[in-house]
Each structure stands twice: as C-alpha cells, then as structure tokens.
C-alpha cells in the first residue's frame, strides 16, 4: 500500500487483549524463534494475510488477520486439518454455553 492515497495518521494506541497476546505468542512459537520446531515462516503468515483480500484491512482487526493466517498455514502444512478445527470450534462453543 506504499504510496497510495490515504488519510491523516491518527495517533491511535491499543493495549492487546489477552487473546491477541496469545496469537502473537503462537506465531513466535510456531516460527521456532524460541528454539522449538519451526512449523511455519513469517513469509507464509504474510502470504496468507494477503490472501484474505484487500478488504480484509477494513473488515478485520490486526490480530483477526493474524489468527486467520496462522490457522490457514497450519492447515496447509497439515499440522491440523479442517475437520479437526471445525470439530474443535464446535466443542468449544458448546463448552462455553454450558
């Protein structure tokens, strides 16, 4: 987006919510910075953020884009499957309601 017309820079600040910190931590751990197994690269994170489309910047927050991209990468890498993810999301929603 470098050089495209855009508005005034508002000096916005933001304290991460707990889940946002955890998304950031997962990225650190999965890229092996902490010495663990390297299961993805920062380039895959960026590629899959770009794949969300140009309107993702308007409809999703920063860490919403990150968590979507990390999850997509884990599916592409075969670390988790779509099926597992769907079942887990279902289970957690149900757990929350009880």
């Amino acid at each position: 987006m470098g050089g495209l017309p855009a508005g005034r820079v508002e000096p916005a600040e933001h304290d991460n919510a707990e889940w946002e910190w955890r998304v950031d931590a997962l990225m650190t751990l999965l890229t092996g910075v902490k010495g663990g197994k390297k299961l993805m690269t920062v380039d895959e994170l960026r590629k899959n953020i770009e794949a969300l489309g140009p309107d993702a910047y308007d409809r999703m927050s920063y860490y919403e884009r990150w968590v979507s991209s990390i999850t997509q990468t884990m599916i592409q890498r075969g670390v988790v499957t779509t099926e597992e993810l769907g079942r887990k999301m279902e289970q957690i929603e149900k757990r929350g309601r009880e």
Partner: protein
C-alpha cells in the same frame, strides 16, 4: 476482553484462537506454559530497552560507532537478548532526519521497542510515510526545516531499523538513566525528537 464472570460468547476469531491453541497443545506442538511464558516475555519488552541503547550510544562514542556499524552485535554487547533481530541503527544529524515504516506489513524492531502501536500498522501511515513524509511528520507535530534531508526507511525484508536521535543540547553531564528517560518510542521510530521538559 472483559472478565465479567458471566458467559461472554467468543467472537469468530477468538474462537479460532482458542481452538487452534487447544489443537496444538493436544498434538504436543506447544504447551500452555510456553504460550504464557512467551506472552510474558513480550509484555516485558518495552521501548525502555531501545532507550537504554540510545542513551548508551549518546554517552559512549565507541559504543555508538559499533551500534552504527553492526546494531545486532552492539545490542548483544549491552546484554540485551535480541534473537532474530538484524538491527540497523540510523543516525539523526543536523543535516538528516530518519524515519521508519513498513509498507508491506508491520515489521518493527520488536526486541527493542515491544509491539508496534496501532498507527504504525495503519493504512494511513504505511501508505503516506514513503510518499509525503514531511506531511506525516507535521501531523505528529514535527515540522522539519526544508534544509534538513529526510530519509525514510521501508523495512521490506530482513532488517529492522532503529532511529538514533540527536542528543538535545542542555543534557551535558546527564546520567544514562536521565538520558534514557527523554527517549520515547516515537523518537526511535523517527516521528518525534527528544526534548527536555
């Protein structure tokens, strides 16, 4: 997220975070303790780390020389753990002002400044910093004279940048601690300059 005791439904993305994390834990890829420890590490990385580097460079010409030559090695020498950081320190002088942006995503010297502020990640900053830096700086309250050259650094690949601001006049004899206190995060991104209160 508010912790009210009452059940708060996760939004879609929060649900995704919880689900992915639990799956990774079940598969033995990460542990909850590792996630918590990593979060703690990140919270502890604040711009004070960068300010310490700047204050030391202002006080020790030999360290400043090393910092400008090889930023990563200089930080290690200062006892800062800077894994995965390839640091280029860029020096402000009476003739040149430097500012940092990442037009492609949100690359930032996180090891020294913590997580980037929202405005740094915003479309407006990323779009305009490379094309009309003087107008952007003016919005931050920094009006630079035309004689001063501006150098904008777009962090497009593997290097991370830190602005080494000019030491303000009137700080002669100050301790490194006193000096570090006037070096704000924004000074090290290059959208502000240190001032004596």
């Amino acid at each position: 997220m508010k912790e009210t005791g009452k059940y708060q439904p996760y939004n879609y993305f929060q649900l995704m975070e919880v689900s992915l994390r639990e799956l990774l834990v079940e598969k033995g890829i990460v542990t909850e303790a590792q996630v918590a420890a990593t979060v703690e590490d990140m919270r502890n990385r604040t711009p004070e780390r960068g300010a310490r580097v700047v204050a030391h460079a202002w006080s020790d010409p030999e360290f400043k020389r090393k910092l400008l030559a090889d930023g990563t090695r200089a930080c290690e020498e200062l006892g800062l753990d800077v894994p995965a950081l390839r640091l280029v320190a860029v020096e402000n002088t009476p003739a040149v002002h430097n500012m940092i942006v990442c037009t492609l995503c949100s690359c930032y010297p996180r090891m020294l400044l913590g997580i980037p502020p929202d405005w740094y990640k915003s479309r407006n900053y990323r779009s305009r910093a490379v094309r009309e830096p003087r107008a952007v700086l003016a919005e931050f309250g920094l009006d630079l004279p035309d004689e001063m050259k501006i150098r904008v650094h777009d962090s497009t690949a593997d290097m991370r940048y830190l602005v080494l601001p000019m030491r303000p006049a009137g700080t002669e004899g100050w301790s490194e601690q006193q000096l570090a206190a006037i070096v704000s995060r924004d000074c090290m991104i290059g959208v502000a300059v240190p001032r004596i209160a």
